[in-house]
């Protein structure tokens, strides 16, 4: 089963994303911020598991989403990362792209649109 890591400091957003994509048969992992996500990815790798896709917010305490993308890309160049945020400024979007994100979705997100994008990325 393909595994999606949802990284957001808001439990409401994590649950919304989980609700939208879980019914399509994906397994969901939660992380509260970028640092928590890096730890989670590392323990999954240690256990022989892997993440198929990350969906990450930008503004989070401890480690923000853009820093997470940069850190994650140091050890994984290919797993897709979708940024899901209220930030819509072009300069911020460029920062995400330059860090190595695969796409940028501005909240509020349409559940069907998110599922379609996830399916395009990981099938």
């Amino acid at each position: 089963m393909k595994r999606i890591l949802v990284i957001d400091d808001s439990p409401t957003i994590r649950t919304s994303v989980e609700y939208a994509v879980k019914k399509e048969g994906y397994a969901i992992e939660h992380a509260e911020n970028g640092a928590d996500a890096i730890e989670k990815v590392s323990s999954l790798r240690d256990a022989g598991d892997e993440i198929s896709l990350c969906i990450v917010d930008v503004n989070m305490p401890v480690m923000d989403g853009i820093t997470f993308v940069k850190e994650f890309r140091k050890t994984d160049r290919f797993t897709p990362i979708l940024i899901l945020t209220t930030e819509a400024e072009e300069s911020k979007i460029k920062e995400g792209k330059d860090a190595g994100a695969s796409g940028w979705i501005v909240k509020p997100f349409q559940p069907e649109g998110l599922v379609e994008t996830v399916q395009k990325l990981i099938g």
Binding site: D9, Y19, N59, M60, P61, T86, K97, G103, K107, Q110
Partner: protein, 196 residues
């Protein structure tokens, strides 16, 4: 948002209009007038950061939970805007407390707006429960407009009910325009960009 440096408070007053949000760690006062909309005052007592959001949820909310409700997704985004600005300043939603005001049933408003008011109240209670953010003051409902002043550095709020809409005609016009737009755009979602 209007910035007034010569307020009676002796510090800068930021006036937040319907649909706007603002977070700060500076010595100032955030002020607004609300009718059908909700005004959320959030405070991080460790970092002494305050944030205010002024919005309405444009419709009724279903019974299956706000995380699976398309109308509620607009309320969630309004909250995300305020909290996101606080996080940029070093705030953390785990330390936040909330004071909420407004969502009045006002004479002369359409049934649609009243549905929005009911939806907003339901949304607020469910949202703060899911986020585990304590609500220290829950002052929603009633039939009068409220004038709100919020000190973002200590979390204190001054609230006054306005009789006969005194001195708030500009806010009434702005609120009506904002609510009209919010209902018109309730089917609109954020853009999606895929990078090559």
């Amino acid at each position: 948002m209007i910035k007034n440096r010569n307020s009676r408070w002796g510090k800068t007053l930021y006036i937040i209009s319907p649909g706007e949000y603002f977070a700060t760690e500076e010595q100032c006062i955030l002020g607004t007038v609300t009718g059908s909309c909700v005004v959320v005052c959030l405070y991080d007592s460790v970092r002494r950061i305050g944030g205010m959001g002024h919005f309405i949820v444009p419709g009724t909310i279903g019974t299956e939970g706000i995380f699976r409700d398309e109308i509620a997704s607009h309320g969630i985004t309004s909250m995300e805007h305020v909290i996101g600005e606080m996080v940029k300043l070093g705030g953390d939603r785990k330390r936040l407390s909330a004071k909420i005001f407004g969502a009045s049933y006002l004479n002369g408003y359409s049934a649609r707006v009243h549905y929005g008011t009911v939806g907003t109240m339901k949304f607020m209670h469910e949202y703060f429960t899911l986020e585990k953010i304590p609500v220290l003051v829950d002052d929603l409902g009633g039939h009068a407009r409220r004038k709100i002043y919020f000190n973002p550095l200590n979390g204190k709020v001054f609230r006054r009910f306005l009789s006969n809409n005194e001195g708030s005609s500009e806010f009434i016009r702005l609120e009506q325009e904002y609510i009209e737009n919010a209902f018109m755009n309730k089917g609109t979602y954020g853009r999606m960009i895929m990078f090559e």
